[in-house]
């Protein structure tokens, strides 16, 4: 592998490693999302600096020009990261949905309570059953 390509690859990978670590240090990136990035950066630094290792890897996957193997592996990581983010986004949007629903339910509960001010026990009873998930009006329907 040409020395210049190797140098560029090493510098790039080290910068990536440094940036990720720095972002974690400044709490801009949560550890759980940084792990995959760190793994990616470490593998790239390792393969970029360890010549015979990269040569071996490229021979195993059948790539003639070793730097291409580096790109290939980096691309694999990019795909993995994107998939990781897609799952994270799916989870977040699901959680946001639940939060929005809870917020709306609570708001309605509060405004309903405000509209009918303190009626002693009766009012209390109305608002108690929620935690259990079964209202007091439950009648077996099966």
């Amino acid at each position: 592998m040409a020395a210049r390509v190797q140098l560029v690859a090493i510098i790039g990978a080290v910068i990536l490693l440094f940036v990720v670590l720095e972002m974690v240090r400044r709490r801009r990136l949560m550890e759980r999302y940084a792990l995959l990035w760190l793994l990616c950066a470490l593998v790239l630094v390792g393969l970029a600096s360890w010549r015979s290792g990269l040569l071996h890897v490229s021979r195993v996957i059948g790539i003639i020009y070793p730097p291409n193997a580096l790109f290939f592996i980096a691309f694999g990581f990019v795909l993995l990261l994107l998939l990781h983010f897609s799952t994270a986004v799916s989870r977040l949007s699901d959680q946001t949905k639940v939060l929005a629903q809870r917020l709306a339910l609570l708001e309605e509960r509060v405004s309903h309570a405000e509209r009918r001010p303190a009626m002693g026990e009766e009012a209390d009873e109305e608002f108690e059953p929620v935690a259990s998930g079964h209202g007091r009006r439950f009648v077996s329907s099966d």
Partner: protein, 253 residues
């Protein structure tokens, strides 16, 4: 403590201020045993205010969740407030509240279904105006679902449905996102809950814009087909009533 069964009508509404008052009035007149809950799905007009003036309880979602998320909050409300039966009545005036009694009757008769669905395509005077693109989609789903659940499902996209306590609890935990009615049929089937269709009258929309425009029909169809096929591949939960249903959102990771 009352032993009379309680009924809740959930009216999902997104920018329906033109029609919502009429729907609520019709509900009051023709389905008086139903308490009414309007779910305002992040409307930018005064849908919520109109509904409140009409005397309904209103859930105001902080932003637009889509029909699935809106109706699901209705299920959660029904579950938390201990309603025995819940029905969905669209805020656009498509559904005729007077037909709710039919759903209630069908619910209380053999074969004791957990969900009764009002179908536009079973009635004799069949002249419900649907655009061709929608109708094609509906038929594709109807055929597919009928095949999967091995029973005739004529109108899988109808939202005019009555659910009992078991169905409410299932859907409060997990309800599909967009075009949810189709997938809901599959969920019922997988959870061994029974459904039944009865013929009802429906109207063309009274105003506002459908959540599914013509252009988006194809997109939704592909999406729901994907959901259906993935749903088939999922491990089928054989839950006893009262068991926990699997839900993505509540479990975090």
């Amino acid at each position: 403590m009352s032993t009379e069964p309680s009924y809740l009508a959930v009216v999902p509404a997104y920018n329906e201020s033109m029609t919502i008052a009429r729907v609520l009035q019709a509900l009051q007149e023709r389905a008086p045993r139903f308490d009414v809950l309007v779910v305002d799905d992040g409307s930018t007009d005064d849908t919520a205010a109109v509904a409140e003036r009409a005397g309904a309880r209103v859930l105001k979602l902080p932003f637009n969740l889509g029909i699935g998320g809106a109706v699901q909050s209705g299920f959660v409300f029904a579950r938390d407030h201990g309603y025995d039966f819940m029905s969905q009545v669209d805020g656009d005036g498509q559904h005729e509240p007077g037909e709710l009694e039919k759903l209630v009757c069908a619910m209380g008769a053999p074969p004791w279904p957990d969900m009764v669905c009002g179908s536009r395509f079973l009635s004799d005077d069949f002249h419900y105006p649907t655009p061709v693109s929608r109708r094609t989609g509906i038929h594709v789903f109807a055929t597919l679902l009928s095949w999967i659940v091995s029973a005739r499902v004529s109108d899988p996209t109808s939202g005019f449905r009555l659910y009992n306590r078991r169905a409410i609890q299932l859907f409060a935990r997990d309800y599909p996102h967009d075009y949810p009615e189709v997938e809901a049929v599959l969920m019922l089937h997988h959870h061994r809950l029974a459904m039944r269709e009865i013929p009802v009258r429906m109207y063309a929309r009274g105003g506002g814009v459908s959540s599914i425009s013509n252009g988006k029909s194809a997109y939704y169809m592909v999406k729901v087909l994907l959901a259906l096929l993935v749903g088939l591949a999922r491990r089928r939960p054989v839950v006893d009533p009262g068991d926990r249903a699997p839900v993505a959102a509540e479990q975090g990771v």
